[in-house]
Point group: none
Chain length 216, copies 4
DNA sequence: TATGAATGAGTGTTCATTCAT
DNA sequence: TATGAATGAACACTCATTCAT
């Protein structure tokens, strides 16, 4: 609503226009906290006119999540093509994720935050992509381990911690003050690769704390 | 949790009963997706009767978040008391966080997920506690660095990545199949401490990927 | 709520305290627009405690209206006692009315404005007093006429116009800038007595306007 | 009015239909005592459907008051156009007022009785018109005085007493038994003009009553 | 006398969605 | 393609009133 954006003429472009603005409002107010009227206002399309482009609010959320996710995964697969070194593959995954993140903060927030807002049957479809994405990351981690680059850490915990670091970014990253895509990628890849390679013995770490755990 | 729980007799206990069940529904359906009627049904208290215990839905959310957060922070301060070794202090922070997390998954989800659902003036109050909590973590990280235990990584990014790993847990942790509190703490502390200590040169990592960034 | 007024100790005084404050809130917010909670807040008596003093909101309104009206009428009767000159009797009526009005603006507004808010059987009772009050005024007017002090004006219209002038005062009278009781009484009695005595022929008045009445 | 009235087909007519019936219910039950559900029932429009025509209950009240008032004032200005004799102008004002009154008793009651029910910013707007209407009446009175047709009576009190006589009508006028527009206009204009012209000395009137004022 | 705790019915308003055009 | 008009169901919240203590 801030800067005037004219409603596009052709149908496909208009759907993109709607998805773009809807993602922005969902990001700002949450899915449940957004009304179709809000979307009508923000897009300049009449309330009933919107229903030509999506059949329900659920479907709209699905379109945003699905489009975004497919874009991320397909670009990742293209970028991984022909690259075999585990470390490089991992870095490509992180960089691809964060690049999308910083260039599409609204969509990424909707993807991270509104996972559970989606209902059957859309939910299953999106979580199918999510599972494949996770599986790919897991495969990369496993080959890292096979190369001796990861110590005894639980692989599921390791991979999900990596996603935790990446997906949490939407909660704190401010474009003007925080590192850009490259620096952020370096930092997270650095923490992760050094982190899972180990070095410090786990046992030492855990015993160091034992006095504290007994206090209540 | 769906089994019959009798409504407590005295007033203070009844408020706790309401907070407990409300946290559970908010965790499941989201704050905006939960109606006071849902809460009435779940607690066994009449719709209007609930308003004797909190004056608005916002205040209810505030009560849940505030109570939880204060508990976490105060217990942490008690546990840190008299402990000076940075590594140990960090481990206590992580363990304290994860312990609360796994024992109060509903409250923790409400804390992590419904941060933005809270409005003025409650929001400011809760985010005040959040800032103090983050500042404490940051202090610990700084002393870690002073002891030569952290390389050149951006400290803000490092600390927020640690919170990312921890706070993301609510999205994936299944009590029956996933590691318990101790193992989870070990894994995350391990990744973080080894991760920020560095070792692998950053430059090497970043160049390794450059071919991939040119593909689109 | 503005200045602190302690709740009285004994029962009768406390009822008066409640009636006084209730009249003030009813005057300000209207009867339907006032909740018993508002009254609880303003009087310092607990919500349920109020019901010891009146059995329903309707009864409370009745108590205020009835008390006020009876006071006005009884004082009027006392003041009229032994006075026989029609003009003087009329003046006493107006002065008695306006005196109560300016000294009890809240009660008077509740009396004037909330006439219809009262339901059966209270309504009948209060409107009984009102009818007797009007009948008394009408009697005075009739004797005025018998003395040749009122021209051919419709007596019902005349008397109700007098009440109109008096009862409308609550809509505009500001104690600090508007005339006091005496001046106001003089003005209204003056307009009324001169007004009904006539002089100017009615016919002249009505024809003077005839062109205007035909324009639409 | 309770007989079946079909809902109009076109949108503008339907708004008029809603305003008409709403005025009737507000007149009967008071603004605060009327629920939107009452209006839905009376108009035959669904509860939510009403909100297509007005955005809030306050706005509905505003629409009724504003429409009525503007109609009264504009018609008055048209009728006064080209008329310069103060007495005639006064009579036109009264006749215009009473004509609207008797032909639109519901609207007039809402105007007279629900003045304070309107809140910001609507209130200011309506009271702006009201002030202009009063100012016009005051101007007429002032020229009456300039022509020697009004004695020393306080002009504010005089004009507001005139409005008191007129606006009180809604409290007592019964179309079947009470005088019609013309007679009522004659009576009130007569009382007012003769009343303010004076004749009887004020001093005499006021002293006549002094014994009465000392009795309690 | 007085109140904390409680409630069923109702409040104004918004919701996602539909349908005739 | 697009929309004005409409709706049933639901929303957060308040109401006058009650009752055990």
């Amino acid at each position: 609503m801030s800067t005037f954006v004219p409603t596009p003429r052709n149908s496909e472009a208009k759907l993109q226009h709607i998805l773009l603005h809807s993602a922005a409002i969902f990001a700002k107010q949450g899915f449940a906290g957004t009304s179709i009227r809000d979307i009508s206002r923000a897009t300049g399309v009449s309330l009933s006119g919107l229903y030509y482009y999506f059949e329900s609010k659920q479907k709209l959320l699905y379109l945003i999540q699905n489009t975004s996710f497919i874009f991320i995964v397909e670009r990742l697969q293209r970028r991984l093509d022909g690259v075999y070194q585990p470390e490089t593959r991992l870095r490509i995954l992180v960089q691809n994720h964060i690049e999308y993140f910083l260039s599409h903060p609204n969509e990424m927030k909707v993807l991270s935050h509104e996972e559970e807002a989606l209902e059957s049957p859309y939910r299953e479809e999106v979580s199918g992509i999510k599972r494949r994405y996770y599986a790919l990351a897991r495969t990369i981690f496993d080959s890292l381990k096979a190369d001796g680059l990861a110590s005894g850490v639980n692989p599921r915990v390791a991979v999900l911690s990596l996603f935790g670091m990446m997906n949490w970014i939407y909660k704190w990253h401010k474009p003007k003050v925080d590192p850009n895509e490259e620096e952020l990628t370096n930092a997270i890849v650095g923490i992760f690769l050094n982190g899972v390679r180990g070095g410090m013995e786990e046992s030492a770490l855990s015993t160091a704390v034992s006095p504290a755990t007994t206090d209540d």
